[in-house]
């Protein structure tokens, strides 16, 4: 006798789908290359920048942040992973098959969110800690001030970096479910995390509140030990960003339930 499937069955199914694609492992491999390669390559140039910098620049020297700047690129790679979990099914028509097997749509999207959340939480931390250690080793070798995890706020910044990547991965799932096309969702993600921050300063003042919690801007302020005067409460900004992304996820769930496939 077959019993009514539980959420864990849906989860199991989504995990099989996730792990059975080579692109999943290639993307995760890319994440490792970016996450560990960038701190390796950038430690020396950053150290030279410190040595030739002005007094003020040297006062602002934040070796923790310097070793974690890889988040800038890593957020796009982990974003691709989150987007594809939804859009690859729309692109191939597989979504019809998935929804035939699991017509309770919230449950299907919920399982996808859960798989991405679990993978990105682990991947984020698994990336942030080695990146920090590699970066600090590079700074030590170059003879510039470096940090240890025991330094004030260093641990918070490293953990924050991993969490930040996980939250961006969930933003990507939401964008994938809302936009349904890979290219469109990816372009939107790039716009959010790279373009808007570059245009910072061109927005009217009433938008500043939004920028305080924007990804890469206020939302990423936790990835530092020297407080940025623009974002004095890093974890508050991070919480704001997370709340915004949660709201977007809620909209994605509502539309995913309603739209024809």
């Amino acid at each position: 006798m077959i019993t009514r499937p539980a959420f864990t069955d849906t989860l199991h199914s989504e995990w099989i789908k996730f792990r059975s694609l080579r692109s999943t492992w290639l993307t995760l491999g890319g994440l490792v290359v970016v996450g560990l390669g960038l701190p390796l390559l950038s430690a020396d140039p950053a150290a030279q920048g410190y040595l030739t910098g002005t007094i003020e620049e040297q006062q602002d020297w934040d070796p923790t942040n310097g070793s974690l700047l890889m988040f800038f690129i890593a957020q796009l790679v982990i974003g691709v992973l989150g987007i594809l979990v939804v859009t690859s099914e729309h692109a191939t028509g597989l979504m019809q098959t998935s929804l035939s097997a699991t017509p309770r749509r919230h449950r299907l999207l919920g399982a996808k969110v859960a798989v991405v959340a679990a993978v990105s939480l682990v991947a984020g931390q698994a990336l942030a800690f080695p990146a920090f250690l590699i970066g600090q080793a590079g700074f030590a070798a170059a003879g510039v001030p470096h940090a240890t995890l025991a330094d004030p706020r260093a641990l918070s910044a490293v953990v924050g970096c991993g969490l930040y990547l996980a939250v961006i991965a969930l933003l990507a799932v939401a964008l994938g479910a809302l936009i349904r096309a890979t290219a469109g969702a990816l372009a939107t993600l790039v716009g959010i995390v790279l373009l808007v921050p570059v245009l910072d300063g061109m927005f009217p003042p009433w938008l500043d509140g939004l920028l305080d919690v924007w990804p890469t801007l206020g939302g990423a302020a936790v990835i530092a030990t020297v407080p940025d005067p623009d974002y004095p409460q890093p974890w508050l900004h991070f919480a704001g960003m997370s709340a915004g992304i949660l709201a977007l996820l809620v909209v994605a769930f509502v539309l995913f339930e309603r739209r024809d496939v």
């Binding site: 077959i2 019993t3 009514r4 499937p5 539980a6 069955d9 849906t10 199991h12 199914s13 989504e14 099989i16 789908k17 059975s20 694609l21 080579r22 692109s23 690859s88 099914e89 191939t92 028509g93 597989l94 979504m95 019809q96 098959t97 998935s98 929804l99 035939s100 097997a101 699991t102 017509p103 309770r104 309603r258 024809d260 496939v261």
Partner: protein, 291 residues
């Protein structure tokens, strides 16, 4: 016995009504052909049966329940709407494993359906490397995972070679023999004639016919017989008197329907009429009366 019950089903896209107040039943133990020209609304109807598209009006139930309310959907309905609907980078086995897991079905079902569709040899190959026929079989394997009582196929023979077509035809017949309700769409009457017991015909979203296959053939495309004789007018009268419908054919021939060639031959012999030609013609399948 599980059946599909479509009641007043309607779908509008903006101002266009693409499925218009459809009502029909797909009974168990038969292959029901769902026939209509391109754009008639067959796929849209099937997507509404599967809760993939929301009806603008009316309802459709499977064994009395809406699809999305089925507790273990794969054990009640198997559907192949689009053979391309697999991720090309996933192996056949992983594709089926993920589907089986979602409904809590045992892992061994994957091997069983692969065997039943003749796909066990390619289980570990990526779906993207499959030919159309193999993808079709993979899709059918997926529909069988939960051993469902109801099966739905949207144009399953499209693009297949004659051998593939025959395989799918026989397969659908065997599913119906096992007591399952089988709904299969096509835009070719000739295809339906060889597969279906029952026929639901739609055109521009509306129901045109809902009859048994044999009834439909009698009414719509039963073959005609071409008759040539030296005295066409006199023989035409005799034929009409015997209940046949007679039209004028090319070069003063007669086109007769409602009687078989054998019956016409006997009638001619009885009245001592010499026939120079007596040729049954195949039904004009490709031009059924869409309205």
């Amino acid at each position: 016995m599980t059946s599909i019950d479509v009641r007043g089903l309607t779908k509008r896209y903006g101002p266009r009504t693409v499925v218009d107040d459809l009502t029909f039943t797909v009974p168990a133990g038969q292959v029901t052909g769902f026939l209509g020209p391109n754009g008639a609304g067959k796929s849209t109807t099937m997507r509404m049966i599967m809760s993939l598209a929301a009806p603008s009006g009316g309802s459709v139930t499977i064994g009395g329940r809406r699809y999305r309310d089925l507790p273990v959907p794969l054990t009640e309905v198997g559907a192949l709407l689009d053979a391309g609907a697999v991720h090309g980078a996933r192996t056949a086995q992983d594709h089926l494993l993920a589907l089986a897991a979602s409904n809590g079905l045992p892992r061994r079902r994957v091997g069983e359906v692969l065997a039943r569709t003749g796909m066990d040899g390619v289980a570990r190959r990526r779906a993207g490397e499959f030919s159309l026929g193999m993808r079709q079989r993979l899709g059918i394997a997926a529909t069988l995972l939960g051993d469902p009582r109801v099966l739905i196929f949207d144009e399953p023979v499209n693009g297949l070679d004659p051998e593939g077509i025959r395989w799918i035809r026989d397969f659908m017949r065997s599913l119906a023999r096992e007591g399952r309700a089988v709904l299969v769409s096509s835009h070719l009457m000739s295809e339906m004639a060889q597969t279906a017991d029952h026929l639901v015909v739609i055109g521009r979203g509306r129901l045109i016919a809902d009859t048994t296959m044999s009834e439909f053939m009698r009414a719509n495309g039963e073959g005609t017989v071409l008759v040539r004789t030296d005295e066409p007018d006199a023989f035409a009268l005799r034929l009409s008197a015997a209940g046949a419908t007679v039209r004028e054919g090319p070069e003063s021939s007669l086109v007769v329907s409602g009687m078989t060639a054998a019956q016409i031959g006997k009638l001619a012999a009885y009245h001592d009429v010499a026939l120079s030609e007596l040729a049954p013609r195949r039904p004009r399948w490709r031009t059924p009366s869409w309205s």
